[in-house]
């Protein structure tokens, strides 16, 4: 059961996710990008979704990850991610509603490098009825 009082809360995630050149290279290769000096714009989804899973399935939040589909996604990039970055993660649950039995959660991921916010992203996650 999703805990409604978690809406509006910000949860700390991993505090130092290291970005390697090899993981940027692998992601870039799939889409045919040869310049890997910075990560492709959607690269950090691999971090954000993993953090969301860790945070939203905590007993105090209680989201059922097994029936989840991705409804929409948005990125705002303040500075591109590159190899060698160490990123601190947090997730903020912005809204929750139930429509036709589906649970719809909007959650924001903020990735910081040191004190600087480098990427915010928003995901709408739908737990199918």
């Amino acid at each position: 059961m999703f805990a409604p009082d978690s809406v509006g809360r910000t949860f700390a995630g991993a505090d130092s996710i290291k970005i390697s050149q090899s993981e940027i290279d692998a992601f870039a290769a799939v889409i045919g990008e040869t310049d890997t000096s910075v990560a492709p714009p959607t690269f950090t989804i691999r971090i954000s979704l993993d953090q969301f899973q860790n945070i939203l399935t905590r007993p105090e939040v209680g989201l059922d990850w097994s029936r989840l589909v991705h409804g929409d996604q948005k990125f705002e990039v303040f500075a591109p991610v590159k190899a060698g970055d160490s990123l601190r993660c947090s997730a903020t649950i912005e809204s929750y509603r139930v429509a036709a039995g589906n649970e719809i959660v909007s959650v924001r991921s903020d990735l910081h490098r040191g004190e600087d916010l480098v990427i915010s992203s928003w995901s709408t996650l739908v737990v199918r009825a």
Partner: protein
């Protein structure tokens, strides 16, 4: 000259099961609906479907090819309205078009259209770039 209404050239990229496997490995998203046909059918899908985020990544590549590389993207968003269906042994199209809808100083906003097999797969797909 880039102005509101400028259309970008259409691009068609092709997806197959091998690309879905490669994206699963690169993204860490190993959900079996993107690799295992039996599993996909068992949860009511018509076949294996591409990761929405793979579709979005490929559209992102289309954008950055035009705008001058990965660092040129300021905002990028899309809604996953229909799946890209990827049957075994086939290559399916992802056909991408874009139009400039806003120019604010050096920032250019694009409206993006992505279809597969004639079906629109992304909704509300927009990107803001600073073209290099």
């Amino acid at each position: 000259m880039i102005s509101v209404g400028t259309a970008l050239p259409e691009k068609i990229v092709y997806l197959d099961r091998a690309l879905l496997k490669a994206y699963a490995d690169a993204s860490g998203d190993q959900n079996p609906i993107h690799q295992n046909e039996e599993f996909a059918l068992s949860v009511g899908l018509p076949n294996v479907i591409a990761h929405g985020m793979l579709t979005m990544a490929l559209v992102g590549k289309y954008v950055t090819d035009w705008s001058g590389g990965s660092a040129s993207v300021k905002e990028f968003g899309a809604r996953f309205i229909k799946p890209v269906i990827v049957p075994a042994g086939e290559k399916v199209d992802l056909t991408i078009n874009a139009t400039v809808i806003e120019v604010n100083g050096e920032e250019i906003k694009l409206d993006l259209i992505a279809t597969s097999a004639g079906v629109k797969v992304l909704g509300m797909a927009k990107a803001v770039v600073i073209k290099k």
